[in-house]
């Protein structure tokens, strides 16, 4: 259990440390922001609208594919632990599992769904 405690401690100490360092800039170089200094930079001219928008991601089919593969990984971790003990049968099982999933990639690639929509 102390392993996870150490991981958590390292996480929070780094996080807080960085936030404190960032706050330190107030003492080194206090900022006073003005309207022209706040204009988002695209080359010297001001934008018309906010940049935040209903952003049209061009890879949305890929994100769906990722969801399936993320699930696959969940199965693979415990499989890796018992693999050698289970022997050949585990290899065959995983082989079939992965080949089935590779068909998914093959289909997606053939439908050109990995390219930008």
């Amino acid at each position: 259990m102390h392993g996870i405690a150490a991981a958590l401690a390292i996480f929070f100490v780094t996080l807080v440390g960085f936030l404190i360092l960032r706050a330190s800039e107030r003492h080194i170089a206090p900022s006073k922001s003005t309207a022209p200094a706040r204009v988002p930079f695209t080359g010297g001219r001001a934008p018309d609208t906010h940049a935040w928008n209903r952003y049209h991601v061009r890879y949305y089919p890929m994100t769906l594919l990722f969801l399936a593969f993320d699930m696959e990984m969940v199965f693979m971790y415990p499989w890796a632990v018992v693999f050698v003990d289970e022997g050949l049968i585990a290899l065959i099982e995983m082989f079939m599992f992965i080949v089935i999933l590779l068909f998914g990639i093959l289909y997606t690639w053939r439908e050109r769904a990995l390219e930008w929509a």
């Binding site: 769906l64 699930m71 079939m96 439908e111």
Partner: protein
Amino acid sequence: MILNVTFWAFSALAVFSGWRVFRADSMVRAAYWLLLSFAAVGIILVLLKAEFLGLILILMMGGEMTIMAVFMVAFMMNPAGLNPMTMVHRNSVAIVAGVVSFLAIAALGLFARFPVARAPAGVDPTRKLGVELLGNSMLVFQTAGVTLLAAMIAAIAISSARGRYGDADQGSVEPDQMVTAPAGDVAAAAAHDPAPVISPGVHQ
């Protein structure tokens, strides 16, 4: 002691960030508050000695909440919450549903008789899980595989605008199934064109 404090701290964090999901104006913030809530639950799972499940929950939710943020930003008006908005609709129904399900789960937790089976010391839950999954039958793995494949193909078929043989909304047809007409005989080709079968109304 420390274990208890940690448990309560992360429980509080999970509830707090779960509540913030519904108070956030920005879709990105809402998604990542939810991620924080999941991560806190993941840590709680780790504290409950389900280390693998806890960590895998965080691992998966990192990608998945990002994908959720992407879609929420794409489809919501005012995705960044520049104009104030509320994530809550039909307040009274929501409150009733929330209270009822909370009470139901709480009652389940308090009154249900859970089987008491102390795990022997030194057992590795990840290994147990692996044996359970692989075990004596291939069913679990192969069912999962086929289900995931079906999900992938369905997701791509529905979401992708383009296909091998042309754009989806044009009714893409495999070249083998196209009736080849003599050059110039456009009318004949149109008569045999299988496109209307797929997308009726093209010739209307």
